[in-house]
């Protein structure tokens, strides 16, 4: 999401993972003893991420507030405080691994806990506020967590040295045990925790050389949540039960942009269990003693909607309008060389148009949160909170309190795929509005719950996009000119991020992966045309790359076909300046047996792309039988820097492939006269068990700083499948989902 521009300018991408030098990354450490526990936080000054947007530089004396990344308790547990939301991507495990590595902890003693919401203490250093997204969680935590772990280790060593009266330099730490070989003394972290908490915080720590890593890179490390997520005990926001809690469901306008004209709530109030019906600026909420009553109450509401400002077009009409726009010059997203002249000299011109539907995120856990207004005029939330730094001020503005009076207890989230990170804090703002509307009658905890239908019909979709692409080839089939126009809504427009992400009419998130094309194309023009609609849109797992990688990679195969070249060779010839892309492409091709014969009716397709500073290639193997396709196997190669948790990287690549392929097969949200046609998993059809191909993941060994893996596994999966189908059938798949072509 806010990734590329910020990452590229901010992250010292080539810096090795070696020791932090104080001159380059001076830092302050704060420590406090709480209940005999050692707690450590590392404060990175702004310079480390100097080009990031307004990163608050935390300097000065140790912060007395509980600014904690590590807690070591007398019971010998090590708890790592996680400032990011874990919505399945495994970040609680990943961040804990980084701390545990520098601490030399035993993995069995490591726990995680979500950090309190506080953008000053826990900013995402790429955003300047607390929030999770853009596959940045490991990358932006890498320095501060290594430092926190190393500092805690140094304090344990200092405590042991003082107790045993031996030089600190002779003490070793391994697997959670502090030892002094000469005297034969040893102690657990727990035994030293209290004494360590009284040690001064080191002003300088040495970080491990990656060759010494024990936990980082260990493919057998289990996720910290692997037990609680198999016995039903993991707590999601949906599972929060507070005394006296009411459930609220909201009736929202069926058309985007519609508002409530009038409400008749008599029948709703008569439903047993319904407690109240309240009107808010975003809809009418039914509050009840349980979810069932709240849903029945909502069904009984009679609401007249004012559709005067609502979207009344169908998606087919929107698509037709975008196709027209794709033929007109737009805002300039990229310009290189002389495109017009190059086309004139081209031996062959190929043109294609790709269309992409609206898509819902449909995280498995529908949106929900619990809110309770507090006596000081603030509020306390329990939520799978992803953008604390937006949610706190947004809710504060609604309630008329200070952002810090909005306390958020972050809990496990049942998926997000971008949906829980909204520039307007949508469902949490809704909950605050409901609580405020009900306030005169009391301040019970209120659980605002979206149903699946609310979710599928509720907008915040991956925008509908049209790409028109035209390329000129020379007589040898080389690309001499590339002209692309991308049409779609900007979900940055009108948000706090617009200043950063929307420049000269170009939304960076709409053209990422296209404007920065890596293939050696000498003459390039990429335009953006902003579509507008009251339909709400949002980033969706891998954001712009969901469509730009598809258009680019599917078109490249069409060009390779026109040029009579092998798709892998064709790409490699254009990637001479991008060794990492070339490398993952070669690796995937080799592991997939590219070029080896397949049985009749089967074909392979390939795609390669860089997103979120990670490099991924996919080779898909597809069977075509009686005009229907089945994806049998996917081979994935990924370069994401140092592999912190290799098994989790594999899991994200498996899930990413499933996500990309599942939506390419059947995923779409369509509108008729402004009304969403889909409602639940029967009409918005998810990837199912029987659709899932075998997935094989190969991780490129690396000594470079780790990058993200939550999203980069998505962009190339679908075009690799499309290219396999092109190979098998000779027919390009230009309109998504593939079901439109009758082949699914």
């Amino acid at each position: 999401m806010l990734h590329r521009r910020i990452l590229e300018s901010a992250a010292p991408a080539t810096a090795a993972a070696g020791p932090a030098t104080p001159s380059r990354r001076g830092f302050l450490l704060g420590a406090a003893g709480i209940g005999g526990a050692l707690v450590v936080a590392a404060h990175l000054p702004g310079e480390a991420f100097a080009a990031g947007p307004a990163v608050p530089a935390v300097v000065g004396p140790p912060d007395p507030r509980p600014n904690l990344f590590v807690r070591i308790a007398p019971d010998n547990t090590v708890t790592v405080l996680i400032k990011h939301l874990d919505k399945g991507q495994g970040i609680a495990t990943g961040l804990s691994t980084i701390v545990a590595e520098e601490l030399d902890a035993d993995w069995a003693q490591v726990r995680s806990d979500f950090a309190p919401a506080d953008s000053k203490l826990y900013p995402n250093h790429f955003f300047g506020l607390q929030g999770t997204g853009g596959s940045t969680a490991v990358a932006n935590s890498w320095d501060e967590l290594r430092m926190a772990g190393a500092a805690a280790r140094a304090m344990l060593v200092a405590a042991a040295a003082a107790q045993w009266k031996v030089p600190a330099g002779e003490i070793t730490v391994a697997k959670g045990v502090v030892s002094h070989a000469k005297s034969g003394k040893s102690a657990s972290f727990g035994q030293l925790a209290e004494a360590a908490s009284k040690q001064p915080v080191p002003q300088k720590v040495a970080l491990k050389d990656p060759s010494k890593y024990v936990l980082i890179g260990d493919g057998k490390l289990h996720r910290l949540d692997h037990v609680s997520k198999t016995d039903g005990t993991a707590v999601f926001a949906m599972d929060i039960r507070r005394p006296g809690q009411l459930t609220a469901v909201m009736a929202r306008s069926p058309r985007f942009g519609g508002t409530v004209a009038s409400v008749d709530d008599k029948a709703a109030r008569a439903v047993p269990g319904v407690v109240d019906v309240v009107r808010t600026p975003v809809g009418v909420a039914v509050l009840a003693k349980n979810t069932w009553a709240a849903m029945k109450g909502r069904d009984a509401l009679k609401i007249t909607w004012d559709d005067s400002k609502a979207e009344k077009r169908g998606s087919a009409q929107i698509l037709a309008e975008y196709r027209d726009l794709a033929r007109k010059p737009g805002a300039k997203a990229a310009r290189k060389g002389d495109v017009a002249a190059a086309f004139k000299g081209a031996a062959k011109v190929v043109e294609a148009e790709y269309t992409f539907p609206y898509l819902a995120h449909a995280p498995m856990e529908p949106l929900n949160c619990v809110v309770q207004l507090t006596k000081d005029g603030g509020a306390e939330f329990w939520a799978g909170s992803q953008f604390q730094g937006i949610e706190q001020p947004t809710v504060a503005a609604i309630l008329g309190c200070k952002p810090e009076q909005v306390k958020i207890n972050t809990v496990w989230a049942g998926g997000s795929f971008g949906r829980r990170a909204t520039p307007n804090a949508d469902y949490m703002a809704e909950a605050a509005l409901v609580a405020q509307a009900y306030k005169a009658k009391g301040t019970p905890p209120i659980h605002l719950v979206w149903t699946r239908e609310d979710d599928i019909k509720g907008g915040m979709y991956r925008p509908l996009f049209v790409h028109r692409v035209k390329a000129g080839l020379d007589k040898d089939g080389n690309i001499v000119a590339w002209d692309q126009t991308i049409v779609g809504q900007s979900f940055m427009a009108g948000t706090p991020f617009a200043a950063m992400m929307l420049k000269d009419g170009v939304d960076a998130t709409a053209v990422e992966g296209a404007a920065d094309m890596e293939y050696a194309v000498p003459n390039l023009a990429v335009d953006y045309q902003m579509g507008t609609s009251p339909v709400t849109t949002l980033w969706w797992r891998s954001v712009g790359h969901t469509h730009t990688a598809y258009a680019k990679e599917a078109f490249i195969d069409e060009l390779a076909l026109a040029a009579g070249k092998d798709p892998v060779e064709y790409r490699l010839a254009m990637l001479k300046d991008h060794p990492k892309l070339a490398n993952v492409l070669k690796l995937a091709a080799e592991k997939a047996g590219w070029g080896t014969p397949l049985p009749a009716g089967k074909a392979r397709g390939v795609a390669v792309h860089k997103s979120f500073n990670s490099y991924v290639a996919h080779v898909a193997e597809v069977s075509v039988k009686d005009g229907r396709i089945k994806v049998d196997r996917v081979v994935c190669a990924v370069d994401c820097g140092i592999a912190v948790n290799p098994d989790n990287i594999r899991a994200q690549m498996e899930g990413g492939a499933g996500w990309g392929i599942g939506h390419a097969l059947r995923g779409q949200v369509t509108l008729t006269d402004g009304l969403v046609d889909q409602a639940n998993f029967d009409t918005f059809e998810p990837l199912r068990y029987s659709d899932m191909p075998a997935v094989e993941v190969h991780i490129v060994p690396s000594q470079e700083r780790p990058t993200g893996v939550g999203e980069p596994g998505v962009p190339t999966a679908a075009p690799a499948v499309a290219n396999a189908v092109l190979k098998a059938t000779g027919k390009p798949l230009r309109d998504l989902p593939f079901a439109k072509a009758g082949i699914v």
Binding site: G232, F236, M364, R452, N680, A694
Partner: protein, 152 residues
């Protein structure tokens, strides 16, 4: 008043007869391991065992659940459950984990009835359980792993 037998215990709840078992469990009994995913028998997140059969609790009314033996994720026990949960943990199947109670309940039913399932058996038993994180590759591997454990 409805009387239900849940995980071997008699539970009396004062709910309307048409309230789905899912909401009785989650809202009345605070047994939140069983999840709400779609409310329409389309995702399997709410799967429980009713007299040993995998059942979508969002579609079974409290009234109709009376007299049956209901088992939820909180109550599964025995060799098969242990093998399944063990395999899930060994292979780190869960990502967000929200669908996994339902997946595990479906897998335990499958292996209780078919201890050595074919790929087709697994697909038939699991196709109704949606995982938005697409952990299907590992679900398959874990079911096979559990089947191996049961053979040993």
């Amino acid at each position: 008043m409805v009387t239900l037998n849940i995980n071997g215990q008699e539970r009396k709840v004062d709910v309307p007869a048409d309230m789905p078992l899912l909401w009785v469990l989650r809202d009345e009994l605070d047994m939140t391991g069983t999840k709400f995913g779609c409310g329409q028998a389309l995702c399997g997140a709410c799967t429980v065992h009713v007299d040993g059969q995998p059942t979508r609790s969002c579609q079974l009314s409290a009234a109709d659940a009376q007299g049956a033996k209901i088992t939820t994720i909180e109550g599964i026990q025995g060799k098969v459950a242990k093998a399944v949960q063990g395999a899930w943990q060994k292979l780190d199947v869960a990502q967000c984990g929200y669908c996994q109670s339902g997946q595990i309940m479906a897998a335990v039913s499958l292996l209780s009835q078919t201890p050595d399932p074919s790929d087709g058996d697994i697909e038939a038993a699991m196709d109704g359980n949606v995982c938005r994180c697409a952990t299907y590759v590992r679900i398959k591997a874990a079911i096979k792993d559990a089947a191996q454990t049961l053979k040993a």
